[in-house]
Amino acid sequence: MNWGRATVAVLTAVPVIALFAFGFTRDPGEIPSPLPGNPAPDFSLAVFAPGEGTLSRSVGDSIRLRDLAGKVVVVNFWASWCVACRDEHVALSETAREYADRPTQFIGVLYNDRQNLGLRWIEGMGGQSYPSVTDRGSLTAIDFGLYGVPETFIVDPAGRIAYKHLGPISARVLRSKIDSLLPAAMPTGMTPRDSAP
């Protein structure tokens, strides 16, 4: 046994195996986003699905992100052809309703889809409590570094992207993120006394 040769072989093989081992733990589809922590790209997009009740906005109105300063804004990119979007729909719609009296705004952005298909999808899903807008040429989607739907961005009251969520989002994640960003940091359903020490 030649110990020198064995050492060289091990020293060569170990880093290579370590590199592969590390590589196989990573998902090549997962693109790290540089956006969280940075100011959210501004947009001004026209409403095509009005939403319901107090959360609704007139069709054709423009929603401008900059005008929503001071609110926690949930921007959800979706499409009628997106299967995973069905999984998160109820959570988004319900959470938006739950936080209706807090400084929040939920916005759906239709991604690479036709408005009438989007409207039919909303109807089929039993409605959407908050308004959805269209994004021509996906300019806003690209501004947000989007590469698939659903993707959800939570913008803090200062207009910074606080959180980016890939895939369907749950009500639990939505609540915890929104609560951590609301100025009073007080979860819904709690009276001021509950939060006192």
Partner: protein
């Protein structure tokens, strides 16, 4: 890196060409009615298209595997290509446009990583390994072909 420099050369030459055509158009316009002046928009379009292709070839398509937004027929890739074209038309430089995409998608969006920081290893290591490997082979060949002292 060769691709990047090639793209730079293509862009630079098309820029120069574009400048020349514009200058020509201005000259002809100053001289008065020359039918050729009407053809310049198409030349400008071709030139813009060539510059768009050069930039789009360096950007990775987010919904594909290892394909540029130039080569991919995916809707998002084509829309990104349109963004490249619009920004070039608005007067942004290829580097500014790449910086924009990096600010949205991260370094990942560049098919060829920038030569800075840890990335330098990506360019230097293969060369070092190649040289090291060749030296090792040369050393072995020499040892095999040289008769051992003991036998002589």
């Amino acid at each position: 890196m060769r691709h990047a420099s090639l793209a730079l050369i293509v862009t630079a030459s098309s820029l120069a060409l574009g400048g020349a055509t514009t200058a020509f158009a201005q000259d002809t316009a100053a001289l008065g009615a020359i039918p050729h002046a009407a053809a310049t928009p198409t030349a400008a379009d071709d030139e813009l298209e060539a510059r768009t292709t050069a930039v789009a070839s360096t950007l990775r398509c987010p919904v594909c595997q290892g394909e540029s937004i130039q080569d991919s027929p995916a809707e998002l890739a084509q829309q990104m290509r349109a963004v490249v074209r619009d920004r070039l038309r608005a007067g942004e430089s290829p580097d500014e446009i790449k910086a924009y995409f990096v600010s949205r998608y991260g370094e990942w969006i560049l098919l060829e990583p920038a030569m800075s920081g840890l990335n330098i290893a990506l360019y230097v290591l293969p060369v070092l390994l190649m040289v090291g490997g060749l030296a090792f082979v040369a050393y072995l060949v020499r040892r095999w072909t040289t008769p051992e002292a003991g036998i002589q």
